[in-house]
């Protein structure tokens, strides 16, 4: 496996493998998540603008996990797994906190100018698909996917 010279992360058979990071549910680690994601998104071939939005979308998803799944408790765990294959770039976020209530997830109207409520909008702007799985034991698995055919240089 190598990341040198912008090569795709792949094992000997040439298939993509996930890159994983485990961080505590403290906001100070959002920076670590962003810095980890940056080279992976760039290697995936996305434009700078798309890369920035993907990183923002993942940051917002992790912030939501900290706020809502863990209620601000910094002793929880977030596991991020990034997969970059020929067709899509996907980020899987696993937490062990309170399960997501999908009925309460909705971005606010953008013409309603007030603090807050933009995180979900930023996630939707970055990714083609956002799925919440609450059937995998404790917590929630959030999967964010962006298709490769929409890569613009």
């Amino acid at each position: 496996m190598t990341q040198d010279s912008g090569q795709k992360i792949a094992h000997a058979e040439g298939q993509a493998v996930p890159v994983s990071l485990i961080v505590p549910s403290h906001p100070r680690y959002l920076y670590v998540i962003r810095r980890t994601l940056h080279p992976l998104v760039c290697d995936a071939g996305f434009s700078r603008k798309d890369a920035r939005r993907i990183i923002l979308g993942v940051d917002e998803a992790c912030a939501n996990i900290i706020k809502h799944a863990y209620g601000g408790d910094p002793k929880g765990t977030i596991i991020m797994s990034v997969m970059d294959d020929a067709e899509r770039f996907s980020v899987r976020l696993k937490d062990f906190g309170k399960k997501v209530d999908r009925t309460k997830i909705a971005p606010r109207a953008l013409d309603d100018i007030r603090p807050g409520g933009l995180g979900t909008h930023f996630m939707q702007a970055a990714f083609d698909s956002i799925t919440y799985d609450t059937e995998q034991g404790e917590g929630t698995v959030l999967t964010l996917e962006k298709k490769k055919q929409q890569v613009t240089q």
Binding site: L30, R48, A63, L110
Partner: protein, 113 residues
């Protein structure tokens, strides 16, 4: 990752200079810095210099929207300066580019204050 916050007196108001990422971790510090400025009596303008900010998330945007609301309550002008492409993109995503007064340089922002 911390955010550095400096304040400078300018004309009839204050300039807040931010350096670093403004995210869920650091936006409370920015909010505190803004709170100190809002305590200054008689201030007519607040300029926030974002030239040193390379990343901002929704919590940073929320902090600036709060600042805008506080400025409106206190009859102060709020001006933002030198947004990086990354920060400008977040403003565009939130459709806030036309809501805030945004200037390319400090000189432009402080003109007439």
């Amino acid at each position: 990752m911390k955010v550095e916050i400096a304040t400078e007196k300018i004309g009839v108001g204050w300039m807040l200079v931010l350096k670093g990422d403004v995210d869920m971790n650091t936006s409370p510090d920015v909010r505190n810095g803004l709170g100190e400025v809002f305590k200054q009596a008689g201030s007519k303008a607040l300029v926030i210099n974002l030239s040193g900010v390379r990343y901002m998330d929704s919590s940073g945007i929320a902090t600036l929207v709060e600042a805008m609301q506080n400025c409106m309550k206190q009859g102060m002008k709020l001006r933002l300066v030198e947004l990086s492409p990354s920060v400008r993109d977040v403003f565009e995503l939130a459709r806030l580019s036309s809501i805030f007064e945004i200037f390319p340089t400090v000189n432009d922002a402080t003109a007439g204050l």
